[in-house]
């Protein structure tokens, strides 16, 4: 992992981000548990939504433990709501810490967004207004999450469908300012950048090029859908299809510039056969392999492929 400026953050014992390999991983879905164990596919790592495994016991937790014995695991949270103005849900934070201790994941990530207001969980990753107030709230919450976990976390850029009149900081600047204040890494979702760029009419390349290579700990690739409203297209980040060609092209450009990074194939709705996810992962691996050959000074981290 590239060097990183730790001066601004307050972890008592920081654990470096991205001990999972710079290979492709897949989002693990319940439909594929048995097949993954039976076939033991050659994939770099698996990612799960943390909230699905915060149960006291039962088969889902047993499945995850079995997976952890075979693959590095990334815990990807959708419920911490780091962008909510009110204090973090301490019960939820404790449950994440407990899960993190149990699973010893390669990475822990969350979103640059909010999902909770007045104690209600909306099950939606809503973009923030990018203001000084939001920056203070968000960075403080990232620091609190990292202090609780005693590790650096990764923060994912959102896909967005609206902008706020009082938003004053461009999103990539806001995200980089969060990394500077908190010491977190970036989980760069290339599909989200593309979705937002198409929805708001900005240049996705310009956005992606602003994120320094050494801040990127992980990349997400997923599919999105298109909805027509009043004759205009809105792209919706539903993770229900293959990664589109435009996003693959943007991804190749990021990897060309930054070298190989752990890359996730996400698929959360209309979940296909496991082979389709593995096929997408193999496509990402081929792009990563070319980067390895081109950047021999940026070695792969395959030695971490089986941890623990």
């Amino acid at each position: 992992m590239a060097s990183f400026d730790h001066t601004a953050h307050s972890l008592s014992s920081p654990i470096p981000a991205a001990p999972f390999p710079s290979r492709a991983g897949i989002g693990l879905k319940a439909q594929h548990y048995q097949e993954v164990l039976d076939l033991a596919p050659d994939i770099g790592w698996l990612e799960v939504h943390s909230e699905n495994y915060m149960c006291a016991g039962g088969p889902t937790l047993s499945w995850l433990t079995a997976m952890r014995e075979r693959y590095p695991i990334s815990l990807h949270g959708v419920g911490m709501s780091l962008g909510t103005a009110s204090p973090l849900d301490q019960v939820h934070l404790k449950r994440l810490v407990d899960l993190e201790r149990r699973i010893e994941p390669g990475g822990v990530s969350e979103h640059l967004s909010w999902s909770i207001a007045d104690g209600v969980y909306l099950n939606d990753l809503i973009a923030l207004p990018y203001t000084e107030e939001s920056l203070d709230v968000f960075a403080t919450h990232v620091l609190e999450m990292q202090d609780a976990l005693k590790r650096r976390v990764l923060i994912e850029n959102p896909s967005s469908y609206l902008r706020y009149a009082h938003s004053v900081i461009p999103e990539p600047e806001f995200l980089l300012e969060v990394t500077r204040i908190s010491g977190c890494a970036v989980l760069l979702d290339v599909n989200n950048v593309f979705v937002s760029a198409m929805n708001h009419g900005f240049d996705p390349v310009q956005y992606l090029d602003q994120i320094p290579a050494d801040q990127i700990g992980e990349i997400h690739l997923g599919g999105h859908s298109q909805t027509i409203i009043d004759g205009r297209t809105i792209r919706v980040d539903d993770h229900g299809s293959r990664v589109c060609d435009e996003v693959w092209a943007l991804y190749e450009r990021v990897i060309e510039r930054c070298g190989a990074k752990p890359t996730l194939i996400e698929w959360d709705s209309n979940i296909p056969e496991l082979s389709v996810l593995l096929d997408e992962a193999a496509k990402a691996d081929r792009i990563l392999e070319r980067a390895h050959n081109k950047h021999p000074e940026n070695p792969t981290e395959v030695s971490h492929a089986v941890i623990g």
Partner: protein, 258 residues
């Protein structure tokens, strides 16, 4: 310009079905009405929480069909939105909510089917602990059985219904015979639902059996639980019910309380 807290509370209200016009100065329309953009988020909340509810209440969903379920889920989500991001815990009040809906009155068994799905869900996610076995009780002098107090396994739930809910549940599982049907005359039914290992089990109990199990779960001595069960069914013999419950893994610990 609203504070972040004001903005989020206003958007929460919109995502739960409230009027979006108060936010029209805050959201940039950019080719759309601000309400149309907020509606994308309202749809996300409604659809994704509806899917979470449908995963927990798959049999209810199958019984009422997509359109009815979506409509009921939308009402429920707006009345009782989740307070935790762990959505496997969401929907505890759904059975009671169904019971209040006039539109569901044609399916009187629906709330009890939902109750069964909820306790199944609770059992599925309950702590993993080793159940008590009959060997653990072998050393007890039979004369002291009346003093026995049994701590329930953390996954154990008891449920009673005037309807044959287990049969309704069974014929609506994936892979069940599509021709199979259930007569409502097969009810009433009393069930112990539990997950001592990897799978959730449902055990049918007699009226005396559920009375006995209910008192034991409350922490009653076996003698007192038996007495209650005999009040329900005068010829009740506790031995077969106890044997079934213990071998099913319904208990966790035991103690003697003379």
């Amino acid at each position: 310009m609203p504070s972040l807290a004001e903005l989020q509370n206003a958007m929460r209200a919109v995502s739960l079905g409230g009027d979006a016009s108060a936010l029209s100065d805050v959201i940039i329309g950019d080719g759309f009405a601000p309400e149309q953009r907020l509606n994308i988020h309202r749809n996300n909340t409604t659809i994704l929480l509806g899917e979470a509810l449908g995963a927990t209440y798959a049999v209810v969903h199958k019984l009422v069909g997509d359109d009815f379920f979506d409509a009921v889920a939308r009402l429920f989500i707006r009345a009782q939105p989740p307070r935790s991001p762990c959505l496997f815990e969401y929907g505890e009040g759904f059975a009671d909510f169904l019971a209040t809906l006039p539109a569901a009155a044609d399916l009187p068994y629906l709330p009890d089917v939902a109750r069964l799905e909820w306790v199944w869900n609770e059992a599925f996610h309950a702590p993993d602990v080793k159940p008590l076995s009959s060997h653990d009780l072998a050393a007890i002098n039979p004369e002291a059985y009346g003093d026995l107090v049994l701590t329930p396994h953390p996954s154990l739930r008891l449920l009673e219904s005037p309807f044959p809910i287990k049969e309704i549940w069974d014929v609506n599982q994936p892979g069940a015979d599509p021709e199979a049907s259930v007569s409502l005359d097969e009810g009433p039914q009393a069930l112990a639902v539990l997950r001592p290992g990897a799978t959730v089990d449902m055990i049918e109990l007699s009226p005396g059996g559920i009375a006995l199990a209910g008192r034991l779960v409350e922490g009653a001595r076996l003698e007192d639980a038996f007495s209650t069960a005999q009040d329900v069914a005068s010829t009740f013999d506790p031995a077969p019910t106890l044997a079934v419950l213990i071998s099913a893994g319904a208990f966790h610990r035991h103690a003697l309380k003379p």
